[in-house]
């Protein structure tokens, strides 16, 4: 009895820590501790009794009891009691019949998986042996062109196509179609659990089968020729679906075997390394943005006499010229501004003479390994004209910022730089993206420099080099990083430019025709361009259910059951396969949100460019701006709001039809209601993006974990860890004692490649364990070293995606629904600005309701 007070005290500390607690917090906690220590046994249900609230009621903070907590306790206890009858302790677990079945299936799948692995290993070994035999010069895509294999391959293709055609076109009655779909689905699920590339490819084939069947059925038996309006709208929808189908097929083709090209070693003797000119084109960006890029470029690992850096200033600013002179890099200015960035680079090409040209947008900071990683392939393949590396962004783009999912969900560019470019590399179809790339001067001059005819000069240039028989390569190593566009309107502006440019190329220099390209390159380019044409089809999908709900015409003229039996396999299978193929780079359904946001804006320019390719002007993407106040972008979101209203009207009419309409229509109404609801969810996501969140920090902070040490005036050296850095300074974390010792002026020591650098800083703020520091000395030499130790570290961006959860379609759907509700609440918020109190309640109600649901419980070893 004597010992109970220290015990209670320690338990109290466990719950409270260093917090200051009010009386309302203390009373329930003390009551519980006293009660549990006196009346309860030491351990209950395998858990220390006094810890039970923490373990079994994770959603409740006993020190901060809220009004609805009693309800939460009831829900949680009921859930635990009825659904989680056994405690999670290991001893009480007994396998059920279901578990045994699962174990058996696993064993069975394991066997198949083993067989597959053996097969794929054999293919891989064969592949490598072949590559060795042909010498290292041989590029993987050239393996396909075997003389003797061509006839055999051709026969195989004909045979496969014949069987495929049969599978796709044979008519089946509903029951047969159901069994066909179900069988495919089971096969798909089994394959999905087997790792490796071959099962993935097989899945693509099965999914294609379902999709082709669907498209064939749609085209042959669902058009209503008796109803002109229905026919017209039906053909419209069919065309949109055809577009989606072509993109799906080409996407599978393009991504069937991402090359994952490794970097290749340079010769040991660096005197044989080629000379490189590094261009940093700039037009209206701030000097601070350009500075970091120049400092990083100066630290690139390359012989000093073989690397020349040039600032290509189209803004004709003297402060840039002075800066270039101060830090000792080249400065190029031209008399006119014709052809924007392309013209700027072309002008500089005439002033310089390096064997290679590296191009960096002024806000992309190269890491020191950039040339080491990208140059090796040029020496190995003399026909190689371009090496492209991904564009990595260390600041959130408008999607990430406004949806608040930075570094949690792969961003919009993730798919392109993670998968599509890598997939195209197999087919020698990787193209130039304007920055973070190296080009061989000779072929570049052969095609007349950077193309100036279209607004996407980058893709067009590489298309021309491909036409001359040069190769391109993609190395998926994040060896440079930059700033993302700041505002939604700027972001959309940039995408409009890309879309218009791609449409222009498609019109003026169509990759499907013309000489010089291999058919596989044609398809890669075509697919990349097709991606930008998604505007009109997307709008068609977003409005399609309205044709029935509002206009009462059947645009898919078939019984609802048949539609389900055909549409379901098509949609479901392609999303299962895409989740597997693209999951790491784009989570399920997010593509729909991204596309929806852009659809309205790219629809017009792409269409115009298709008919009049020379219309329109080049708009520069502004970056590094600030958003001082949170606001809702009414201008940008106008089209989505219109679509939202239309769909809501459709829903209302649909519900009326359900209640009042004829009973034989119920299925069709339900299906279209479901479709319209889905559209509303996606549109909600698009609306959410228009709610611009604040962006007030000028220097973007990059979260990291880097070792560092801090020198105090008396000579003491403290061990610390850099938690984030920006161009102006950094934040370190230390132990509370060490943080307490920090003085106003300190020196931070950071290491780079075995060398330590000292940066004088002063303390800007001081927390318990974290201290914010600002650079005191901003002289060029210090800044070069500082950028080298921070932004330009070779390993900086490699682990960037480690924190991302893997793609799970259902949790992805849940997140989209969450985002969508956020969007509608922002919309209501924006609409009812004066009545702010009530407007936020929609979202608040949602979060409150969500917080009532039972929580899974997990135990740590020390709870037991």
């Amino acid at each position: 009895m004597v010992d109970i007070f220290p015990l209670l005290k320690s338990r109290y500390r466990y719950y409270v820590g260093d917090m200051e607690l009010g009386l309302l917090g203390r009373i329930p906690l003390c009551l519980w501790l006293v009660f549990s220590s006196i009346f309860l046994r030491e351990k209950l249900a395998g858990v220390s009794a006094w810890k039970m609230p923490e373990v079994y009621l994770p959603q409740i903070d006993i020190t901060h009891i809220k009004g609805l907590d009693p309800l939460r306790v009831i829900v949680q206890l009921a859930w635990l009691f009825f659904f989680k009858a056994s405690t999670p302790g290991r001893s009480e677990y007994s396998p059920s019949a279901l578990d045994e079945l699962r174990a058996k299936t696993d064993a069975w799948i394991g066997k198949i998986s083993h067989a597959f692995n053996r097969f794929s290993r054999r293919v891989r070994v064969q592949f490598q042996r072949e590559a060795q035999r042909r010498g290292l010069r041989q590029m993987p895509w050239q393996e396909v062109d075997k003389k003797g294999g061509r006839l055999r391959g051709g026969l195989m293709i004909v045979l496969t196509l014949a069987i495929g055609f049969l599978c796709v076109t044979v008519p089946l009655d509903p029951m047969q179609q159901f069994f066909f779909g179900a069988t495919l689905f089971i096969l798909l699920l089994i394959l999905n659990r087997i790792p490796g590339r071959f099962p993935g490819m097989l899945m693509m084939v099965l999914s294609l089968l379902a999709s082709c069947r669907y498209i064939w059925w749609r085209a042959t038996s669902t058009l209503n020729y008796d109803d002109p309006l229905g026919l017209a709208l039906g053909i419209g929808l069919l065309l949109a679906e055809l577009y989606a189908w072509v993109v799906l097929v080409l996407g599978f083709y393009q991504n069937v075997w991402p090359l994952k090209r490794p970097a290749t070693k340079l010769p040991d003797d660096d005197r044989t390394w080629p000379t490189v000119d590094l261009f940093i084109p700039t037009y209206n960006e701030e000097l601070d943005v350009v500075r970091a890029t120049v400092y990083a470029a100066q630290g690139l690992d390359w012989p000093e006499d073989k690397l020349k850096i040039f600032i290509l200033d189209d803004g004709k600013r003297d402060e840039f010229r002075d800066f270039a002179a101060e830090v000792g890099v080249g400065y190029v200015r031209r008399p006119d501004n014709s052809h924007a960035k392309a013209g700027n680079i072309n002008h500089a090409l005439k002033q310089t003479d390096g064997e290679f040209v590296a191009i960096f947008d002024c806000d992309h900071i190269p890491t020191r390994a950039f040339l080491q990683i990208s140059m090796g392939w040029f020496l190995r393949d003399p026909k190689l004209a371009l090496v492209q590396t991904p564009h990595h962004f260390f600041s959130p783009d408008p999607f990430e910022r406004n949806l608040e999912n930075f570094r949690e969900v792969p961003n919009e560019g993730g798919l392109f730089y993670g998968l599509i470019q890598d997939g195209s590399d197999l087919w020698n179809g990787t193209f130039f993206c304007g920055s973070c790339a190296v080009i061989r001067r000779e072929p570049l001059e052969e095609v007349g420099g950077i193309a100036v005819e279209t607004v996407t000069e980058d893709a067009h240039t590489s298309l021309r080099m491909h036409r001359l028989g040069y190769n391109s390569a993609y190395i998926r190593a994040p060896v440079a990083a930059g700033l993302a566009t700041e505002t939604l309107s700027a972001h959309i502006g940039q995408r409009i430019r890309w879309a218009r440019g791609m449409a222009q190329i498609l019109r003026t220099d169509n990759p499907l025709t013309g000489k010089g390209l291999k058919w596989r390159q044609r398809l890669c380019y075509f697919n990349s361009m097709l991606h930008f044409m998604s505007g009109i089809p997307r709008i068609v999908f977003l409005t399609a259910p309205l044709a029935f709900l509002l206009l009462h015409t059947y645009i898919i003229y078939a019984p609802a059951v048949m539609i389900l039996l055909y549409v379901f396999p098509h949609m479901l299978y392609s999303s299962v396969v895409n989740a597997r193929v693209q999951g790491k780079y784009r989570h399920s359904l997010w593509g729909e949100v991204y596309e929806t946001v852009l659809s309205w804006y790219v629809a017009r320019p792409t269409t115009v460019a298709m008919f009049a390719p020379h219309k329109g002007t080049f708009n520069v993407t502004a970056k590094g701006g600030l958003i001082e106040e949170k606001y809702f972008d009414w201008v940008m979101s106008k089209p989505y709001i219109l679509l939202v209203l239309l769909n809501i009207a459709g829903l209302a009419v649909g519900v009326w039809r359900l209640l009042e309409g004829p009973s034989d229509e119920v299925n069709s109404v339900l299906m279209n209601l479901f479709w319209a609801t889905y559209n509303l969810v996606i549109l909600g996501g698009a609306v959410a993006v228009a709610g611009e969140m604040k962006q007030v920090r000028r220097d973007h902070r990059v979260s990291v974990r880097l070792p560092a040490s801090v020198r105090l005036k008396n000579g003491t050296l403290l061990n610390a860890e850099v938690a984030d850095f920006s161009l102006g300074g950094l934040r370190v974390e230390l132990s509370p004692e060490a943080a307490g010792m920090m003085e106003r002026d300190v020196s931070v020591i950071m290491e780079r490649a075995g060398r330590e650098f000292v940066f004088p800083m002063h303390v800007a703020f001081k927390g318990r364990t974290s201290v914010g520091l600002q650079l005191r000395d901003k002289s060029p030499t210090t800044m070069v070293n500082y950028v080298q130790c921070t932004f330009a570290r070779a390993d900086n961006w490699v682990r960037w995606k480690q924190g991302m959860a893997p793609d799970k379609p259902l949790s992805s759907l849940r997140m989209i629904i969450h985002v969508s509700i956020l969007g509608y609440s922002r919309l209501v918020n924006g609409l009812l600005e004066p009545l702010k109190q009530s407007s936020g309640s929609l979202f608040n109600t949602f979060t409150t309701l969500k917080s009532l649901r039972p929580q899974p419980i997990s135990m740590r070893a020390d709870d037991l």
Binding site: R711, L712, G715, T716, L717, L718, N719
Partner: protein
Amino acid sequence: MYSLLLSGAHGGVGTTTTTANLAAALQVQGFKTLSLDLNCDNALGTHFGVHVTELGGWMRAALDGEDSRNSIFQSHDGRCVLPFGHVAQQPDLILRRMLNERPSIVRELIADLSGEGFDYLLIDAPTTLNRSHLGIGGIGDLELLVCGPEIQSYSLLKRRREEVLHSKTHVIMNCIQPEVPLFGDLAVLIREQFAQNTVPTAIHQDYSVPDSLAYFESVIAAAPDSQSAKDFHALALWCTSTLKAKA
């Protein structure tokens, strides 16, 4: 028992300090360590809190004809030390005389100590060119050559590479001072030119080290947040993993 032989490239590079703090870091890893002072200035004991009035040590015991193992001291954090011992006058001369009589006295001493149940024996030896009379060549499972980022250390390594760097010898840089560009350059130079024989970590110049000694503590115990404490942990980790890899 593993034995680590520590020698300086020249005087004043911090061999004794390194020995005491490395022992502390090994002790934190859970090893029982004994540090042996072979220098006649008898300074190592101070790092373990041995009081100046204590006269005991292996030399003292040898002169008195006693068992040197009775002169092992233990600091309050568990590290053990066998000092050189107090010799009233001209300890260097007396040591030489002793070695003339019994040339293998140090080897015998180390053999005796190996039966005492320690995991690591750290030998704080005189500078690398001044220890041949002790007859301890090749006795360490691992030899650490303590160098400073200075011209003296570099020129010794350059001139007498064959002599001072064996396969078991590794250079550990002490008192790294990134603030002084010359020191930084020399550290990089030594690491690059003797890459095979260099420990991948280094120990920073840190006021916490002498400050801790003023409290008769290791820097590990007295200033756990300091960079040098972290450096010694890293060095200890490198030593144990290197020895494990060799075994």
